[in-house]
């Protein structure tokens, strides 16, 4: 019955994996530092326009987002352009309230420094964007950012 003899000493030695946790932890910390938490689930599709003269938004904590585009779930919500504030669809009239609520959440010193980033699908008509801008003006939020991607060189 020695057909199934275990081969001892012949196989290659096991790799020492004692430093594996350290490597993984290093990766973990790298990702924790370089990334930020996802804040909302997108309910609208956005293909951002391209631009060359773009600036980085430095402080993510001082940015609020307004998403505009056709709904992701077009079977239920149709294909008309919709506005998304926080986690739900909204209409133009909700923006003033959204800005007011956003102010309430922030410390007093930061309230005037907030930038509103407009993440708008490039196929959108300007009418809705103009309406949003008018509402923001009325609400006293003057710093805005037209979110766009860096254009690849055409050459």
């Amino acid at each position: 019955m020695s057909k199934f003899k275990t081969k001892k000493g012949k196989g290659s030695a096991a790799i020492n994996t004692s430093s594996l946790p350290d490597i993984i932890f290093m990766l973990l910390f790298f990702f924790m530092v370089t990334t930020t938490m996802r804040e909302v689930t997108y309910k609208v599709k956005m293909k951002l326009p391209e631009a060359t003269e773009i600036q980085k938004l430095e402080k993510k904590s001082l940015v609020s987002y307004i998403y505009v585009g056709p709904p992701v779930n077009s079977k239920t919500f149709g294909t008309n352009t919709r506005i998304q504030l926080n986690d739900q669809f909204a209409v133009v009239d909700d923006i003033q309230e959204f800005v007011a609520n956003d102010r309430q959440k922030r410390p007093e010193a930061d309230r005037q420094k907030v930038t509103f980033s407009l993440k708008v699908d490039s196929e959108t008509r300007m009418g809705i964007v103009t309406d949003i801008k008018q509402e923001l003006r009325k609400a006293g939020a003057f710093k805005i950012n037209y979110s766009s991607r860096r254009a690849r060189d055409k050459n």
Binding site: T17, S18, L20, P21, I24, F25, L27, L28, F31, M32, T34, T35, T36, M37, R38, P49, E50, A51, T52, E53, I54, Q55, K56, L57, K60, V63, T115, S117, L118, V120, D121, S122, E123, T124, R125, M126, G127, V129, T130, K133, Q134, L136, R137, K138, G140, A141, F142, K143, I144, N145, Y146, S147, S148, R149, R150
Partner: protein, 191 residues
């Protein structure tokens, strides 16, 4: 001699770390937010009070619902917009076809520079596509950035984007203010 504490089995440490790693990979995003930053004007209280600006000081940029561009009454291709804007905003003393110029003493630069009184007025239709609007904003921003670059090179020998001195940056921004005004919305061309 006290007995040594038995060693803890650390074999599953890697699994725990992997779990955490995957959790963070899924819940976080890495995208850097970039875009064109603009400042909106405060709301106008009474429309009666019109600000008087001379005709020669305004470059009217219109975009219609078919994404066609018109600059001071002439159809222009988007590729020409940057040059047109730069030419318009450049200093042309004593030329009545261009905006007025005005000497201005800027403390940060400690010198007097000629500044243009020109304003670019941007007007778009409700039917204009957002991509076109951003393209126009981008070209105008490019024109101003190029002018800032040129001034910076002529004054300090380095590009505007490479300046580190706060005062110099402020001075250049004062010498070449980004004057893009957006008109109150109205329909300027049918759907």
């Amino acid at each position: 001699m006290a007995r040594k504490a038995p060693e803890i089995n650390a074999g599953s440490m890697a699994d725990i770390a992997f779990l955490l790693l995957i959790f963070f990979l899924v819940t976080t995003t890495m995208d850097v937010d970039t875009g064109i930053t603009r400042k909106l004007p405060p709301p106008v209280e009474d429309l009666e009070q019109e600000i008087d600006v001379k005709e020669r000081n305004v470059l009217k940029v219109l975009v219609n619902s078919r994404n066609r561009l018109m600059v001071n009454g002439k159809f222009v291709d988007i590729s020409m917009l940057k040059e047109t804007a730069k030419d318009f905003m450049a200093i042309h003393p004593d030329n009545p076809d261009y905006p007025e110029v005005q000497p201005k003493f800027i403390d940060e630069l400690n010198r007097e520079v000629m500044t243009s009184k020109g304003i670019i007025s941007l007007k778009n239709d409700r039917g204009t596509s957002y991509a076109m609007y951003i393209a126009v904003q981008n070209e105008l921003a490019a024109a101003f950035n190029e002018m800032k670059n040129e001034l910076s090179v002529s004054l300090f020998g380095i590009k505007y984007t490479q300046l580190v001195n706060e005062d110099k940056i402020k001075g250049i921004n004062k010498a070449i203010p980004v004057r893009v005004s957006e008109a109150e919305p109205e329909d300027i061309g049918g759907q």
